[in-house]
Symmetry: none
Subunit: 395 residues, 2 copies
Amino acid sequence: MRELATPNDTKILLCVVDGLGGLPDSVTHRSELEEASLPNLNHLTADSECGLTIPVGYGITPGSGPGHLALFGYDPIRYQVGRGVLESLGIDFDLQRSDVAARGNFCTLDGQEWITDRRAGRVATNVNAAICDRLRKIKLPGVEVFVEPVREHRFVLVLRGEGLDDHLASTDPEREGVEPHPARATTPEAQPTAGLINEFVKQARAVMKDERQANGMLLRGFAKYPDLPSMPEVTQMRAGAFAVYPMYRGLAKLAGMTVSAGGGTQASQLEALKSRWNDFDFFFYHFKRADAAGEDGNFRAKVEALEEFDELVPPLRELGADVLMIAGDHSTPAQLAGHSWHPVPFLLNSHLGTTDDIDEFNEAHCRRGSLGTFPAKEVLSLAMAHAGRLVKYGA
Amino acid sequence: MRELATPNDTKILLCVVDGLGGLPDSVTHRSELEEASLPNLNHLTADSECGLTIPVGYGITPGSGPGHLALFGYDPIRYQVGRGVLESLGIDFDLQRSDVAARGNFCTLDGQEWITDRRAGRVATNVNAAICDRLRKIKLPGVEVFVEPVREHRFVLVLRGEGLDDHLASTDPEREGVEPHPARATTPEAQPTAGLINEFVKQARAVMKDERQANGMLLRGFAKYPDLPSMPEVTQMRAGAFAVYPMYRGLAKLAGMTVSAGGGTQASQLEALKSRWNDFDFFFYHFKRADAAGEDGNFRAKVEALEEFDELVPPLRELGADVLMIAGDHSTPAQLAGHSWHPVPFLLNSHLGTTDDIDEFNEAHCRRGSLGTFPAKEVLSLAMAHAGRLVKYGA
């Protein structure tokens, strides 16, 4: 793509409806998209090319990281983002290239240091925050230490300094009735980092010794900032991200996009998008609610979330992008109350596109679309082609 | 897959109808599957997700080896099984890891040692067997020699011993009126093995010198036992194979499956499957007759074979697998009287699956299914997803 990308004055708008795809309800045999009233999406569908995207591979259920990276044009198998990094992004932690981040769980240990609860009874978030305040005071030689609460028993540990290495095995034995593992380097180069982690855990034990629930910790997903090629550089597009939730803002940042000022509501996100329309060529617009409802296993709430997104379609169309796409990072069927591997409805609207004799935006109709069922990592090149941003390959 | 596989108590049943797919008859324009009366398969189809599998690649006609390995989750381009090994599996020869096997043809040589018939007039199998008996007595330094008849002019030669190497070129010049090639090493390490083969051929010439037809031999497909990752280990599933024919039992063994006691009829194969239902998580059930009829170019016999398989569907469903699949290793259209490259009907039945508004199991209907046309090597991950046996990829 780097060799074929060429500048143009066209604009591409990628709308990601998180957890877009679903499954038929066992009673009505209609999926969330089929059940929802989506006049604007259906109208757009009649004007568009449709298909289904496979986020990572057949049968592979993606997390948010690979689901989004694929839509940003990365091969999600080749470019992996460690859990420590994703967790840091999720709390808007400003991760640096020298950092090693880990996902932490507070746990409960008994008198012999054996784990009795791997999640410390899902300790209250404010207790977690108070413990993190105290752990943050731990000093390690030559590195800075960051300890940030996430929610309940989950926190993030970040070490910052030169020469840190993330080739470390998890300290979580993944069962109770045994001691946590010490941090262990999986390459010789990571030995010093393992030593620092073990020193941190030792000091932390002392800090937490009087806690009733959260008196120990398990660390996993040690990871450094991934070395992704910059999407704006590869594609020669100025890329702006408009997302409310930290995780998606973080993923866009990893890809090299400019992330607009965060927080706020769907309305303010749309306003931000409008106000920056002249500043970018590629726009990533993230809509979260569909995934959250699917994760809760709430079919009705997911239907409503999709209907809410439908109301955003007219203002999004009014922006006048040369290429407008509606995509999902993965399916989140309410039936499964979680992410799934099922191919995800996809739509591409462009004056260079064809249309498909389809006028409903859902799994069954998109399957019959002209784009077929195809890997999500191909979405970006498809969009660039429709935007006149790829030159001919070969003579 | 190794990283994502997770244990569960679900069961997966893969039924391989050998040579399943076909082509429309030139008169009726209906394929074997369309012509057959398949009430049970059609009923199952209405409840399932369907598609077409591509065994190896567009336009690539697979042998039984790659056709099956793909359905067992192996990339059939990356993992190849040499002809010598396949031929050994086909006669139930107990191949060891130290063996080098070759496919042999008896041929006819004239007084100058020139080939006059590359197949020795398709010599009778009993003559072949008698010659093999005599060849088996040949002694080579440091290795054991096995010579096993297959059928007509075909036999298998196996050398067993330490340090044998299969990097040897065929001795078959593939035309008549010239001498057979000597065995030639294609790497320096294979030099000693080439020497042993040439010594064997020399002694064999003496043994066979008075034969009228089969007085020479051509050797090709030199191969060692392939080093395949163990499917049960990679997938964390206990895997059992239920197949009557040696070739398919052998392929399952290569994949690391436990092969049930062989021989017998379709009925006894089904009984064996039932009686071992508690012993495995993954079951490979092989049905041969459709391929044999297709190979014979007998449209009617293939229709009947498919109808015979249809009668097996109710007892197979009654086993209650969480994921039941009907697949083919390749198409064998009676029209072509041989294997072909055509995508193969596929069906996956699971309570986590969707359904496709299709109620006939054949090429034209499966093409419209939600699984689309996809590589056969993805079948296993798809099945594992539906069986709750793959964790999420990335966070």
